[in-house]
């Protein structure tokens, strides 16, 4: 992936040299051209097109922004309802993620999403223990949210 980025920057520099004008706009045009070239060469060179990962990261960021706003509306409803009828609990959620930084990212995202708070990891990193503010009507929904987050993270890293 790092090699592709370097290659793309080299193409942009070559483009600026060919144009014989060295401004930011020329560099940008060269970079976009480099993206196209890399896209068409991806089968020939036998690598995975790196911009797909960048795109997946952008999608993850948008998903995160949406969930953050939903989380706050959720807290808003619970705190301002006249009667507190919450049923908190701790749920073990299995995860497929392997490396430490993926799990850290997932735990942070869980903490900032509606009604859930990551509390502990099992020793073999296969389960994340999550404190949920409303267990009975949410367990399925929580699973869904985590599936979507987990899938988005996997898309970025694989």
């Amino acid at each position: 992936m790092a090699l592709q980025i370097v290659l793309n920057i080299v193409i942009a520099i070559v483009w600026a040299i060919i144009q014989n004008s060295y401004t930011g706009v020329d560099f940008l045009v060269g970079y976009v051209l480099g993206l196209f070239i890399l896209y068409f060469l991806k089968n020939f060179l036998g690598f995975d097109f790196y911009f797909r990962r960048v795109w997946a990261a952008i999608k993850l960021l948008l998903l995160f922004a949406k969930e953050l706003v939903l989380a706050n509306i959720d807290v808003f409803k619970i705190v301002l309802s006249p009667k507190l009828d919450i049923e908190p609990g701790i749920v073990a959620v299995p995860t497929k993620l392997k490396t430490d930084w993926e799990i850290t990212l997932l735990a942070s995202l869980i903490t900032l999403t509606p009604g859930t708070l990551s509390m502990d990891f099992s020793d073999d990193n296969k389960y994340i223990y999550i404190h949920a503010i409303n267990v009975p009507n949410k367990e399925e929904m929580i699973k869904q949210i985590h599936d979507s987050f987990e899938r988005a993270i996997l898309e970025v890293t694989h």
Binding site: V75, V79, P88, T111, L112, M119, D123, Y129
Partner: protein, 122 residues
């Protein structure tokens, strides 16, 4: 509507939303029954509240004075990086020093795991 009026409108809306969210998270700290549910309110609402206030300040200085403050953006980034970790650590430390869960709690998957671990160690 000229640029300075617009910048004031955007900034004031964002800062008002931010302060309202911070107030809400303070209400949450008072009303919710135990430490774990309180940290729900503290981590989520306070984070977005700080984000909105910083973003409002950023837009005001950018649109009204043409000053692009990278420091404010970095501040947003660092708050987002640290707030969930702080919430996680406080909850984890509280659970391991056996802070009681509230009466309404319906499920506790972590309890048996920790008890098993302690027996294994002893």
């Amino acid at each position: 509507m000229n640029a300075s009026v617009m910048s004031e409108v955007i900034a004031s809306i964002l800062i008002l939303i931010g302060t309202a969210l911070s107030l809400l998270s303070a209400f949450g700290l008072i009303r919710l029954p135990d430490l774990y549910t309180r940290s729900h309110a503290a981590t989520k609402s306070a984070t977005l509240g700080v984000l909105c206030v910083l973003l409002g300040t950023f837009f005001y200085f950018w649109l009204a004075e043409g000053f692009l403050s990278i420091r404010l953006l970095l501040g947003i980034f660092f708050v987002f990086l640290t707030a969930p970790v702080a919430g996680h650590l406080i909850c984890r430390a509280a659970y391991r020093s056996k802070v009681e869960l509230t009466k309404e709690t319906v499920q506790d998957d972590l309890k048996e795991v920790l008890e098993k671990g302690e027996k294994g160690r002893a």
